[in-house]
Amino acid sequence: MKEFLFLYRRDVNNIPKGSPEEMQKETKRWMDWMGGIAAQNKLVDRGNRLEHAGKVLKSISLITDGPYTETKESVGGYSIVKADTIEEACEMAKGCPVFSIGGTVEVREISGM
């Protein structure tokens, strides 16, 4: 089996600020989705969420606030799964709750050393 990185991207300016109940529902959707992948023994690393703010080093001397100053969508988190093919990995990614807020999942094979 190969390992694949899921990169979750969404427009940070467009994240709905829901009530605590809605936020809890959102968390549940992520947990249920990821629990489903884990139940197939295909979750390698649940990964992490990333804070909104960050810096981008464009060179040693040029540091900008970022990372979303230039692209509208920024990476909000990542996970690692395992699958036989990239098609299978994409099939798994279809259940990702990020789509409900107009986000995307980038699926990338992790190349072995």
Binding site: K28, M31, D32, G35, G36, A39, N41, L43, R46
Partner: protein, 410 residues
Amino acid sequence: MNEEKLIPHLFRTEYRKIVAVLCKSFGMEHIETAEDIASDTFLQAAETWGIKGLPENPAAWLYTVAKNKAKNHLKRDKILSKKIIPQIKYYSTLTEEAEIDLSEANIRDSQLQMMFAVCHPAIAAEAQIALALRVLCGFGIDEIASAFLTNKETINKRLFRAKEKLRSENIAVEMPSAMEISDRLDMVLRTLYLLYNEGYYTSQSEKVLRKELCYEAMRLTFLLTENEQTNLPQVNALFALMSFHASRFDARTDENGNLILYDEQDETLWDKSLIQQGEYFLQQSSQGSRLSKYHLEAGIAYWHTRKEDTKEKWENILQLYNQLLMLEYSPVIALNRTYALSKANSIDEAITEAEKLQLTESHLYHTLLGELYKDKDVHKALSHFSSALKLAKTQEDKKLIQQKTQRLIC
């Protein structure tokens, strides 16, 4: 207690204490000598008490005899003495004249240290359990064999190999260093957890024995909560988990030893004091930042102590299962999680998820799908139950699946 029952009872409670203290004094490489002395002590008790009647304090009598035997052994057997005495001097200042310390405190410390020695990573898991049952719980070889559903020879071989390891790896009866304690404790907890499950889930061996396995695992876990160094959140969580499960021990089998499923259990038979004990230790476990699998499993077991089928209950159980799977995959947990999904979300969603699991060789997988389909598609449900029946290995499992099939047809 009459005399006939007293000796086996004392054997169960005192044998392990004598062995632990002697192993600590002699060194783990002389575990067989320690066991021989302990066994001889009981043999002498059986003979002497039969003729002279019971001593006033049988346990104290045993300790005195064991002490004397240990001292005589050191004096008498010159070849062994040469091997043991330098070791003893190395570990403590004990000499031939010195006391073998059978005080309550030393018994407790020795047993705790023995747990770490027995659950040493160099020893295979199966052998650890057998060794734990023998030297930490004082079980007979035939009892261990029937607990494992195997014969005495196999157990003897397992114990022999484990003791070889104790010798060759030079495993000491001592507390691991502060650096090592967390990793070593994980091993101890894993063994205690397996020991408990052996008792709880091995449905074929007799009920009394199974219950005793569970209680022994609980006793040893409790011992860990009493020591400052080992009284860690994950230990409390494991103890809570064991308490919650134990609360249903009498409700989960009928008088013929048949398994009664959770839904059909008479909850008035659930032991309230064990549930409260579990709640207390679960509370105690909620410290620190590490969420162990025992925390999650204890949480699931806690929600199962509430019989009422609420949305809240199943939602909590589902989330705990989700987390548990992210921590560590197991097919059984994946199936249980899917069942929780059917209760918390919907049966349709659970069916879709179940079919992704690809556990088609497991009778539990087909039993689950049969359950999920039973109100949706009777034909599919029956076909899954029939696949389950073909795959089931134990009579117990077959009986349960047949019951489910019967109910669906009627």
